[in-house]
Symmetry: C2
Subunit: 212 residues, 2 copies
């Protein structure tokens, strides 16, 4: 398998964690977003959306980090990254989407660039925008972790899964932009539990081959 990704892309990091949790080897293909390599002809021939990550598994090409993780979970079922019951799976997917649909899309590189270059926002405004969506979005995740009985040492129960693969990279981004995190202690406890595992710590941005 080949994973086209970028060390600092949090959607890429989600997939690196999943591959590591499953103990799967892959070729790390770097697509340098800050140098616009994703917009070059060679990559857009592979990925019409010009986004990372992208997984090539033989002839199969899979995009979108959550879809890739579910694909890996279906093709390499052990250890499972989703619960065995429909309601549990729905909860884990919803938690992942609370981050992947409500927080991260507002704060990725191309959106921040567009806000500054095309909408004329100042750097201060950009930072305020960033923090707003991270801090309010994580508060919603915190409430779910606190209120819902299925929460455990990890987002769902006591084994890592899809929601943890999505949560941890978001916290890395939050820390990089110095977002407030003291209002989400349950989230941070899960984060620390995850980071004690090699699958999360050895795949982190600074440990990647293309890290700067």
């Amino acid at each position: 398998m080949e994973l086209f990704n970028y060390f600092r892309s949090s959607a890429s990091y989600r997939v690196r964690i999943a591959l590591a949790l499953k103990g799967l080897d892959y070729d790390y293909k770097s697509v340098h977003l800050a140098r616009n390599e994703h917009l070059g002809e060679s990559y857009s021939a592979v990925a019409s959306s010009r986004l990372v990550p992208l997984l090539r598994d033989g002839d199969a090409v899979v995009t979108q980090s959550m879809a890739i993780i579910e694909y890996l979970d279906e093709t390499h079922p052990e250890p499972p990254l989703l619960p065995s019951d429909a309601l549990g799976r729905a909860r884990v997917r919803a938690l992942a989407q609370d981050i992947a649909c409500e927080i991260h899309p507002l704060n990725n590189l191309r959106v921040l660039r567009y806000l500054v270059k095309d909408m004329g926002l100042s750097e201060d405004q950009k930072t305020r925008w960033y923090k707003h969506w991270v801090e309010t979005g994580l508060e919603a995740v915190e409430q779910r972790l606190l209120r819902e009985g299925a929460s455990g040492r990890f987002c769902h129960g006591d084994t890592p899964g899809l929601a943890d693969c999505v949560l941890v990279p978001q916290i890395f981004n939050a820390q990089r932009f110095e977002c407030r995190l003291d209002h989400v202690p349950a989230v941070m406890k899960v984060f620390e539990t995850c980071m004690a595992l090699d699958a999360f710590s050895k795949t982190q941005p600074s440990a990647c081959p293309d890290a700067e």
Copy 2:
């Protein structure tokens, strides 16, 4: 089952389509976003994220439109809204996420409000922002529909599924904001095929009990 939703919320419309495709009855619970009903105490007691849609199925509460649709597909398998093969499922999920993670989050009501009220964007800038993400995002979907052999009368093959549930509401939003759509003929052909079905047309925003 009860669906907490709002006629104009496109994430809500996705779930209404899925329920209709499966022929499932439900109580329509209106949560009026423009009147801030989602921020009120009675709704936030149910939904910690304060977002719609939310499905209540007996004691089970499921949030996030794509997670709800997968839950419905697992608990009521006929007709299936996802293909039977892992690669097909990955493609359908990725197409849905191309819209639900790359386009829609940038253009929902709370984001547009924040851009104008807190970031000081003009109405003109807001419209430009809206169109930019819809038009470029749909172009990526168009490329996938054209390039990938699994495309058919619908996003994937010749039966409607998860990706169509997500695509159609996005086109409604695009039309409402007068976005350019002549550059995505394959997308529009799928849209028209969908709209010929009651499951898509009879659940559209203007047909909802809380439509204005």
